[in-house]
Amino acid sequence: MTTTTTTEDSPRASKDPLLELDNVSCEYKLNGGGRFRAVSNVSLQLGHSEVLGLVGESGCGKSTLAKLICGLEKTAGGTITFESHPVKPLGLGRRPKNLLGVQMVFQNPYASLNPRRRIRDQLTDALTLDPKHNWTVESLLEAVDLPVDAAQRFSHSFSGGQRQRIAIARALAAGPKVLVGDEPIASLDAFLQARIARMMRDLAIDSGASMIFISHDLSVVRDIADRVAVMEAGNIVEVGSTEQIWNDPQHPYTKKLLAAIPKVDGKGIIPG
């Protein structure tokens, strides 16, 4: 794993960040009136060919952060820049060309593919975006370990894990520079999670992209991320290299989170 030992800013990231969040906030309207501050003053940087794990528990604002990065949500303050282009909220028009390098893989594999269109068509939509033409439908399916005949089928004949791999293939086909995974493994069986996560990392890094991998599961993130950011109640409480977060956490919340992970050692010890 390519990790640097310095905390906070890896030199790569600070020199020329691919994606930069500066003091970003976001608020939601609540159903019964009132407002909820989902993300508050978050600053983050993502370097080239880097996997950043974003970890936190439900309701901490990590998914909102993913939407903000993709322009799917409006900021209530702060700026997001991708390759020095400001990320603007997506309106009715096409997404600006210079932002198409940010692509996303969603949480729910059953909702992320169009049920009425063939896999081939959905992949082709994405392929047309990539100027370099690195992929074909077949090579994409091969890359995510699916049979080539999958292209002719509709999403309903695939299992959750297979669909998620198709969704990954579609995101890759667009030739992204930043791949955002919003809890992409949370809906899958435990036994599939690590496999899919590793596949995502390998494919992203091999194609020269960076990845933001959002998860509530620190043990999977440890497996694939170079750096980890820990989020609690809308704030980022700690950022550091994976090694440092795992072995020498600073913030009490990070410690609590690490301590709560049950170890698969058969010792019968309840964590925490």
Binding site: G91, R95, L100, Y110, T136, S157, G161, R170
Partner: protein, 313 residues
């Protein structure tokens, strides 16, 4: 294989992959939905509905051949009972009831289908626009819809038809004006939920404009529920039309019309046949559409498509 290979029908579960077969219930719904849509009428009710409807279609198409007499000619003794020469009797002006019933199918059926198609198209286009574009457009369209919903259907139709004056054309306009909002509401909510579903968002992230994603990604997923609603709605359109005729706001005499015939017969209790048979016509044809619509709806409903034991584990 290249992108240009001819498309083959989707192959089902026998894939090379060793992963566990699909067990997501929603997904089952979609799958069976595509398979079963044409088969939806194989339920007993759907079957009965289809048969009744086909009979009515035949009657409407071949009405001039089937009607034994001129529906307008006042050739017979007044108020003669069913049986004999006039199979279903004659009305107060001595016209043959059966012939009038048969010929009336020619106005009612096409008018109802026409008004439903118009309001389905109008309503779902407006609803899709409201649902996808939101904000001011949404507010304006949906507030108008709310206003229509603030009246019971026949009351507003009555108000409109009265203002425009009696006649088939005006009745159709009235029904169109009162029935588009239900399509707008349904389409709007379908589009809104589809708009936020992950596959549509993924398309937007790939650079689809709002319009392109509405047409290419969303509309195929919205069409079937609208078709079901429209099928059920033909029945209510016929009922509303009959109601307007009953209030003398529909088809103008002497053109034969079921609602108007009931209206005429209601005061003639001794001559029960004048009102009874047209009502039976309305009942059977509306029932046919409701049976068919209900079966279609069932085949779309993920709940009914869900199989026992699929939900757990």
């Amino acid at each position: 294989m290249s992108i240009g290979t001819p498309k083959q029908p989707p192959t089902n579960t026998t894939s090379a992959s060793a992963e566990v077969a699909d067990r997501n219930p929603v997904d089952r719904g979609v799958k069976r939905w595509q398979l079963r849509f044409p088969k939806a009428l194989r339920t007993p009710l759907g079957f009965i509905g289809a048969i009744i409807l086909s009979i009515w279609l035949i009657v409407a198409v071949f009405a001039p051949l089937l009607a034994p007499f001129n529906p307008l000619a006042q050739d017979f003794p007044r108020l003669s009972a069913p049986g004999g020469e006039n199979l279903l009797g004659t009305d107060t002006l001595g016209r043959d009831v059966l012939s009038r019933l048969i010929v009336a199918a020619r106005t009612t059926l096409p008018a109802a289908v026409f008004v439903v198609i118009c309001s389905a198209v109008l309503g779902s286009v407006l609803g899709a626009i409201a649902g996808y574009f939101g904000r001011a457009v949404d507010e304006i369209i949906m507030r108008i819809a709310d206003l229509v919903f603030a009246f019971p259907t026949i009351i507003l139709a009555m108000v409109i038809a009265a203002a425009l004056g009696p006649g088939l054309k005006n009745a159709i306009i009235a029904i169109l004006l009162v029935s588009w909002p239900s399509y707008a509401r349904v389409t709007r909510s379908l589009v809104m939920s589809a708009r936020n579903s992950e596959y549509v968002v993924a398309g937007r992230l790939l650079g689809f404009s709002a319009g392109k994603s509405l047409i290419r990604e969303i509309s195929p997923n919205v069409l079937s529920p609208v078709v079901v609603l429209a099928t059920l709605d033909v029945g209510s359109a016929i009922l509303t039309m009959a109601g307007l005729s009953f209030l003398s706001l529909g088809v103008v005499p002497p053109t034969p019309d079921w609602g108007a015939m009931i209206s005429e017969g209601v005061s003639q209790f001794a001559a029960w046949w004048i009102a009874f048979f047209p009502g039976l016509c309305i009942l059977t044809i509306v029932m046919a559409f409701n049976f068919i619509g209900d079966s279609l709806r069932d085949s779309l409903d993920p709940h009914t498509a869900q199989e026992v034991g699929e939900t757990t584990s």
